[in-house]
Symmetry: C2
Subunit: 345 residues, 2 copies
């Protein structure tokens, strides 16, 4: 008695398969009583429709893919779970696909799209290296999360949801300046980054300019090509910075992971955070509240962002709307890792 099919159910109910189909798909043209009776039989024999057959028949497969670029960012963990939940609510399926830092995400996307007959995709992180033209090759609706391109064409072939990286970054660096810091270093993405790295660097520069602080290229530490937003990377960059003998009173890391790595490096150099060097992060990872010292950071509203991403995607899929670009406010959370610039200097 392997698997029970729609035919079996039909037989059991003494009706035609199409009636059963109508019942399980909430079609209008069906007698409520018939439907109820069918659903009961389905329940009793716990029949579950075969997904492959459905997808084969349907044009779309009711599955949406989540592409995650760059390993080891716990920031995405929560995001994925929220997205998964939203997708499940809509009775869609989700497949997640991790793409290595060097891999082209669009290439991976294209393959997935065809193979699985996706009806939509969500990109998490990444989206450096790729151009809008590349992205346009993906035919299904796409929403970019946390990886907006700087220049948002109104009619871009995709949606996006994120915080305003320039603004939030500016907010943080401005805060650091207000504390009296002038020698503010930044730990940022690669030099060629066209995504969050670039934007957050922009915010940094903007804030410095506002405070009439000259931008010192030696205080800008870029990741190497092979690196990612990991603690290890933050550790390495900070160590280099420390060894460079540049005077620094604070450092802004564009992710909490980087910030924590930086703290470790500072610590190992026999210095204290924030007494000797203040450290600020970005993202709002849980660990920031438990680290010693607790981490000043920009908290991104992860849950809201994820939900909005799903919402927009479904809207676009159902053609209820065209592509949208939505920004959420981040929140500057001040904790122990930053303090006023020591006046005893």
């Amino acid at each position: 008695m392997g698997t029970i099919t729609i035919k079996d159910v039909a037989k059991l109910c003494g009706v035609g398969v199409s009636t059963v189909s109508r019942a399980i798909n909430d079609h209008p043209d069906i007698n409520p009583e018939t439907k109820q009776m069918i659903m009961k039989v389905i329940e009793e024999n716990n029949y579950i429709p075969n997904n492959s057959a459905r997808n084969l028949k349907r044009s779309d497969s009711k599955t949406i893919a989540v592409l995650v670029k760059g390993v080891d960012n716990p920031f995405f963990g929560k995001m994925i779970r929220v997205i998964e939940e939203e997708i499940r609510k809509k009775k869609y399926s989700m497949v997640v696909h991790h793409v290595e830092a060097q891999e082209g995400e669009v290439a991976a996307a294209l393959e997935l799209e065809r193979q699985k007959k996706l009806c939509g995709m969500i990109f998490l992180g990444g989206f450096y290296s790729e151009t809008s033209e590349d992205l346009a090759k993906v035919k299904v609706p796409v929403v970019l999360v946390t990886s907006a391109k700087p220049q948002l064409e109104a009619n871009a072939g995709y949606s996006s949801v994120s915080v305003d990286d320039v603004k939030e970054s500016y907010r943080m660096v401005d805060y650091l300046c207000e504390l009296g810091h002038e020698r503010i270093a930044i730990l940022t993405a690669t030099m060629y980054d066209e995504s969050v790295g670039k934007l957050r660097l922009q915010g940094y520069k903007k804030a410095l300019q506002k405070h009439n602080i000259e931008i010192n290229e030696n205080l800008i530490k870029y990741m190497k090509d092979s690196e990612d937003y990991s603690m290890k990377c933050g550790y390495i960059l900070m160590k280099e910075l420390l060894e460079s003998k540049e005077e620094i009173s604070s450092v802004f890391a564009i992710s909490d992971s980087l910030a924590i790595g930086a703290c470790r490096a500072i610590h190992e150099a026999g210095l204290g955070v924030p007494e000797d060097i203040a450290v600020a992060g970005f993202d709002g990872l849980d660990i920031g509240a438990y680290y010693t010292p607790t981490l000043t950071t920009i908290v991104q509203p992860v849950e809201e962002i994820a939900k909005e991403a799903a919402k927009i995607l479904f809207h676009v899929i159902k053609k209820k709307t065209i592509h949208t670009h939505k920004f959420f406010e981040g929140e500057l959370v001040v904790r122990e890792s930053t303090n006023e610039k020591d006046s005893a200097h």
Copy 2:
């Protein structure tokens, strides 16, 4: 020019569909030249077989599901990525499914199994609450990772791969004892846990016994039902412990996340780690090496475990072997969060 099908390819090549099918599925009975020519045409028109159609035809769908129980354990993040890679190498698909702490994982598993015609499943974490009989309902091969049942029936209907939780836990607590600690608290899973929580608690008790230290129930802190292996949970449990006024010189948390939460609580109580209270964790998360103080822990060989899990699963699927139970050695990594019991006491 929507999607190109196997028929189109056949037409393009001037051959029958079965020949094309044979080509893409590496069947033996085909002329190498024909095959090469077909593959070329496929490449040029980048034809990609429709997965749903394949799965419908095949009995199994070549997809394996990963069930992750309990949110927010970064420990599983890496695991999933490694598993994903292994699965992809075999040209299978992976779907991950998070199940809430209260949800029954077997129920979720059953639904998935039918709906997606899985050919195998990997359970990550969890597996408390569920009995072997429940698990037996899942017809496809299952491998339990990091969640072995205490009593392993030789012919259990599943495989498992993990560290020997009793032994590793024993190793850690034994080490703590060797350092001179006698008042050793443990932060563990719920009281009803039948999985890693139970096992690690066993190891703890065993080590204490070896050192003739009486077991003090007040030093055993169980999670509440609603809690999970999170930093927050560790923080809460530790705080309760501190408030209980029990004298403690060290605490063993059965996960690094819990340990970090505990450190925070200790810190906020104005005490120092390890001077006042030594802290040890379990898992070997990256953060352990960057936290202040760095965390003494049992490092689990995540990558090996994940690879082995995939390997075993594929073996069982292909009927090359029956279910296996494999254990890996953990590694006791001593760092700053533990030290010798202060003799000045």
